[in-house]
Symmetry: C2
Subunit: 546 residues, 2 copies
Amino acid sequence: MDERYDQLPANPANYVPLSPLTFLSRAAQVHPDRTAIIHGRIERTWSGVSHRARRLASALCAHGVGRGDTVAIIAPNIPELYEAHFGVPMAGAVLNAINTRLDAKTINVILRHGRAKVLLTDTEYAETVRQALVGLDPKPLVIDICDPEGPWGTGEGEVLGETDYEAFLEQGAPDGLDERPANEWQAIALNYTSGTTGVPKGVVYHHRGAYLNAMGNIVVWAMPHHPVYLWTLPMFHCNGWCFPWTIAALAGTNICLRQITAEAIYKAIATHKVTHLCGAPIIMQMITNATDRERQSFDHKVAMMTAAAPPPSAVLAAMADQGIAVTHVYGLTECYGPGVVCDWQGAWDELPAEAQAQRQARQGVAYPVMERLMVGDPETLEPVPQDGDTMGEVFMRGNILMKGYLGNQAATDAAFAGGWFHTGDLGVWHADGYIELKDRSKDIIISGGENISSIEVEAALYQHPAVALAAVVAKKDEKWGETPWAFVELKPEASATESELIEHCRANLAHYKCPKHIVLGPLPKTSTGKTQKYLLREQANAPNAG
Amino acid sequence: MDERYDQLPANPANYVPLSPLTFLSRAAQVHPDRTAIIHGRIERTWSGVSHRARRLASALCAHGVGRGDTVAIIAPNIPELYEAHFGVPMAGAVLNAINTRLDAKTINVILRHGRAKVLLTDTEYAETVRQALVGLDPKPLVIDICDPEGPWGTGEGEVLGETDYEAFLEQGAPDGLDERPANEWQAIALNYTSGTTGVPKGVVYHHRGAYLNAMGNIVVWAMPHHPVYLWTLPMFHCNGWCFPWTIAALAGTNICLRQITAEAIYKAIATHKVTHLCGAPIIMQMITNATDRERQSFDHKVAMMTAAAPPPSAVLAAMADQGIAVTHVYGLTECYGPGVVCDWQGAWDELPAEAQAQRQARQGVAYPVMERLMVGDPETLEPVPQDGDTMGEVFMRGNILMKGYLGNQAATDAAFAGGWFHTGDLGVWHADGYIELKDRSKDIIISGGENISSIEVEAALYQHPAVALAAVVAKKDEKWGETPWAFVELKPEASATESELIEHCRANLAHYKCPKHIVLGPLPKTSTGKTQKYLLREQANAPNAG
């Protein structure tokens, strides 16, 4: 041991906290005039985006926002949400991008739990957000985003705050602010997940992890310089899997989409020569099931990354026919989006399409920036044999695992117990090291790429006075991947119809979370009284069901 | 400030020290049967390379080598040197790859200064190394590498140690050892640079920087998965610009070359379908000036990264004719090899070839993993105007700057004074943010990609009893880029011929460092007696000179 090696400490010249903010400043310095973002008639260069992000940071700072303050935003995939991925952390603050499909009550819970000091809100969601703000004390500073490409155009929608986003930017110093984190462990984003219990948990990301996962996307996807990236994946979903930062690192072009339709996707691909896009299987459905009227032809190569459900071979084949190569990834909010990739093996080239699809349907191997991935015994954390058969829980370890759950030490400790992140997902480990999910221990229903907690839906049903017992399961669905189905046992002497109960859910839940079908009758139970959900799952997915 | 964000400390599940060692374990797990390395008749998979590296680590450990111990190696670009880039740090130790062209005296100084506990030495260099070992106390454990592709084949060369490399590997445990750094700031490599003064300085790299620069290479070069990489750049040169780790991260194939000749390069490109290579301008000269007999045709795209001297337009054109696209990078040992890249601008596509070459001849902009780059006043560290005209020193800041110089606090402090790394290189800053070197304040001569300190050569000349004054400058050279030229003033009454002095240098210096030409006569001086080197540089490079 030569102690001289340890006598060379870090100094300001050779140690800089990792932060994805450096990607934006590099893009603005090296490619200032290159198109960074296109949204309908709006087009901005990297210099322009950098300028607006710095002004946002400066304006936030002028309103007392600083390190460790939460700035929430409710917006679709528009430039303001993209800018916020840089401008908010440039003020030292934490970005909380909220799912636009949530109901007012859940948004209220999130704003309250996250202690948002500022809320940027697109006027399209004004009605829901107005309700969500009721009872908040202190109220966040509310700033309306009046997107000229939005349903009402600039300044025509209902406004909730004192100022709109453009006027707010004007309050920033002309050169803006670009503060870097003092520490790479500093929080950069807060993302609420419905998680297992229906009570939203605030997943905290740090600068280090965001930097590394943004890099991981480049390596995993072998991305070129200056990709043209289409925003079909919501940026509020795990910060768009860190792609806002990835695209800046490559000085690419972001193509925004307020509304995701087959027509809009084809138009964007053909017009802007989109090279990359991400999204849930529903996006692939839109692409492959588009009508002739919605389609536009293109002859360049396109790459798509998808998660949430393994892509079936027919879909992969249809995508390939369209010139779109699909990469299957897997992850959770807790690992910054994708952390596992079904890395293509050269030997698969020789396989028939069906066998290829079978390989591709597996979740895969760790991202290069994730250090460890295993399937293990949930109790002992011993790895299961790599036999493709023994079930275990998926465990992860590495720098792209969250800091933890905001203000929830118990959940954080449980998630990281034994030095591994517990995904709660069950699967097998194949001989080649690829993992394959088999079930979700947490009963999450993934519908259109969004997680729905069955427990949250059950909780809503339980609020109805007639409900004795409720169980919600995933019903496979061609369009949405999965939809929630409910089984309800009514209280003795009580009565309620299916439509009454669905109506009740719609009054209490985001609409996409409501059961599509409710079966009334006694629920099957174990001898100890536990509902046998697997039987209900079978029933819901039987060929003759609904 | 919401203090809850700071209440989520790192734990073993969400924080793992960055280390390029993870790239090898991932390659071995995900692509175990893919070819990792080819050296003549030797071919090994990623599983095989990983296995040998782990056994090397284990064998080193069995001999008492551990954290912070130096393991030196003298070898050309062969599999053993590649393995050492993983096996040595897997034992917690520090890899010191030594320039094979150095003279025995300098190697002795390096082994002594680096306190090498083990020396792995290729039998080709046995004679020099035998001399280099004289007087070392304690002596390192010497292990001979008897490369079957080497000049003598296995076991036929002169051996210096008790054991050869293959037998040494056998001493490792069957599964080997794969220890990861406890801290990402831990040293991984030690690289001696001739630096400014001729006294070698030991540049220390850490795991974090090696990881990040390996990633930086991928992003800068938009590297695909599974590249086929030809080893024309010495791995002892800044650890091959971190490419041993980069190629593992991409599970590519390393093509080794013991001897770098035009014929060998063409053969490798054609046979193995090489996609990427790096090297000094001399490699480009070899490629473009190859004879018909040496050439082989190939029709795939090849990318080459070059540094040390800006590529002239005729060379770029000749390379393009060969189907080889050139990327110009710049760096120093202190920044892990390349840290600056002449990033291509879309707008340059439209320029005539000569104007493109002019753009490409500039050193460029910071690597994405280097946070800051500037040209500034050497005294005040104020940035110079970006006018392409005002000279200043090049300064760098970021995570790919060395830990410091081993056991040399004064030089470390000077290099990092004011929170910037002082490159000692002089240049201008263009309006588009690209830097361009104009001179080297340290009088380094770059010959065939290797640094030669003019001061070291001068010191050798001063050892000759007849020499009064010596000045060594760079003479531009079509083949080598630059060669050293000396100007010598003899002592009154003393006499010596040019060939006598060159002979004297050859006895005291590595041959590549010896002056190619020595001019005898009085040296031009300033009024204060300083030699006016710029006049000598002009003289050496005048059209009618030598």
